[in-house]
Symmetry: C2
Subunit: 163 residues, 2 copies
DNA sequence: TCGCTGAGTATAGAAAAGTAAACTCAGGCA
DNA sequence: TGCCTGAGTTTACTTTTCTATACTCAGCGA
């Protein structure tokens, strides 16, 4: 964004260790974030995901497998009376850490793509009932406006191998 | 997340007006977020995107067209001395509002998928140099821990048409 | 032991998305 | 006039996703 960033994060940087791209490798496929949304809203069973998402079962199974493999969801078992034990999916701490990203998407949709009445779902602070939103802060506790964020090369910054 | 949310945001809700899904309709396709990342890091020209992303031109053209159509990017012209005017792409306020979502993805990648040395890019507060991160706050200015967020039906909440 | 149920797997055909490479087009300049 | 360049378009091919349906498998209860 800044001139400094523009100069330093230049066109020859190695983009293979980009944190954004690496996250998208895991959650960037269709359905994945929507599955997390449903977990977050309270679903945990295969049939629940299938019903509310209306997504193909083979893709659902594949995405769930990947999310478990990545430690974003974990499997537990549940047992309805008179039925055998079956697996269910619960979110892990690693999965919870995706909440800010997903809430960021939600906040943008609320602002630019909501129905005239407003959003379909509201996020609130359980303790005080206040409406929550996603903000950028710095470690000196300033609220950082979007245009005051500067992107600089970090410790793993590399140039692209020439060729 | 909460029991209340689990009860209310149930399996028969209408998911067609979900803000997360609607945002993903626009930025959920491959390359789109990476294009925004590059705009954010300072690129603006077709050839710059192509070079740093290594993505196919037809998709790049299509994604840029969509981002402009959605008002996330805008076209301007630039002119190198001795060359004719050509288009370039700049981010709009609507596009800047996607920064929290993208920084959320970045933050997760920094935490769980970074190289041993650390992240490739660091975001800082331009005014104080402090490292920035994405946080959830409520409108009474509490810092909201991820497990204290409650999702409730909003004004546009609807049940799915039965059938 | 038989049927039922939730949670999948298997498979096949159609549509959408992605990739690679060749081609176009406009205008400045030699 | 003809060449060069950035910014695309076109086309052909491959891969991924989607849809639909059929099938499996384990264990509880009748």
């Amino acid at each position: 964004m800044s001139d400094a960033a523009g100069q330093d994060l230049h066109l020859d940087r190695d983009t293979t260790n980009c944190s954004i791209a690496r996250t998208l490798e895991i959650v960037g496929e269709k359905w994945t974030i929507l599955i997390l949304r449903e977990v977050w809203y309270g679903s945990s069973r295969f049939s629940e995901f299938e019903r509310v998402l209306g997504c193909p079962r083979n893709l659902l199974a594949e995405r769930l497998r990947m999310l478990v493999e990545q430690g974003i969801l974990a499997t537990e078992t549940y047992k309805e009376p008179g039925a055998r034990s079956r697996p269910k999916y619960v979110i892990t701490a690693k999965g919870m850490d995706l909440v800010p990203a997903v809430m960021g998407l939600m906040q943008w949709g609320d602002k630019y793509r909501a129905d005239p009445e407003g959003p379909a779902v509201e996020a609130r602070h359980r303790d005080c009932g206040g409406h929550v939103d996603v903000r950028i802060r710095c470690d000196r506790n300033h609220d950082v406006p979007l245009d005051a964020i500067e992107s600089l090369p970090g410790p793993a910054f590399r140039l692209r191998p020439t060729g």
